[in-house]
């Protein structure tokens, strides 16, 4: 059973639209992370959370919001999507230092 799942797996959005990417984990891990992966940049940390109700800004938070309503769920929200946010987004959960990654979401903003 996959412990970290992401939905949707693929998304096409229009510029200026709102996009919500969802992540669910069954590991019961306190920590959750959102990254984007772009060629030449590796993975860059957008937002992270150390528990339900908490969110922290990562290295590139501009244009993104995050929500952690429960231990299991962590959402990434693009209120006004832009073409520069076209990317592959990964969610991860972690207990301590090791992270467990979801399969990724491919987002295309037209």
């Amino acid at each position: 059973e996959a412990a970290v799942t992401q939905s949707p797996r693929n998304k096409v959005a229009v510029t200026g639209g709102k996009v919500t990417l969802s992540c669910n984990q069954t590991n019961n891990h306190n920590n959750m992370y959102w990254y984007r992966q772009d060629t030449g940049h590796g993975l860059r940390l957008i937002h992270y959370s150390y528990g339900a109700g908490s969110t922290e800004k990562g290295d590139i938070p501009d244009g993104y919001k995050a929500s952690r309503p429960s231990q299991e769920n962590f959402s990434l929200i693009l209120e006004l999507a832009t073409p520069s946010q076209t990317s592959v987004y990964f969610c991860a959960s972690g207990l301590g230092d090791t992270q467990y990654f979801g399969p990724g979401t491919r987002l295309l903003v037209l």
Binding site: Y33, G40, H41, G42, L43, R44, Y50, G96, D97, G104
Partner: protein
């Protein structure tokens, strides 16, 4: 500030050859270092990690890494690669923060291509 540098964007080797993927880090405190692998169209998986002690750590699938404090490095090695090792490899620095949690920083990754 913390940073990770993987100087080689792409490495090509023949099957059966030995491998070294380079990683340099910058961090003033105790580094917690990791190597993750990403197979095509998949998420990332942990290969190995280092906290302290023996500077050579063993991972899955015959991979090992050697930590060097003097060189600020954490290079990944494998004695004999297989075509299935073709993937992108990420070096990660994830030190313990003052708040008692971990904030990871990824290198840009090295794409390994193994020719049969």
């Amino acid at each position: 500030a913390q940073s990770v540098t993987q100087p080689d964007a792409r490495v090509t080797v023949s099957e059966g050859a030995s491998l070294q993927l380079r990683c340099k880090y910058s961090y003033s405190g105790t580094p917690y270092l990791f190597w993750y692998v990403q197979y095509p169209r998949q998420g990332l998986q942990l290969l190995l990690k280092y906290y302290s002690g023996d500077p050579v750590v063993q991972g899955v699938n015959g991979f090992e890494a050697e930590f060097s404090k003097s060189n600020s490095s954490f290079h990944l090695r494998k004695a004999s690669v297989h075509w299935s090792d073709s993937a992108v490899y990420f070096c990660v620095l994830s030190p313990l923060t003052s708040g008692g949690n971990y904030k990871p920083t990824f290198g840009k990754g090295t794409s390994l291509v193994v020719h049969p």
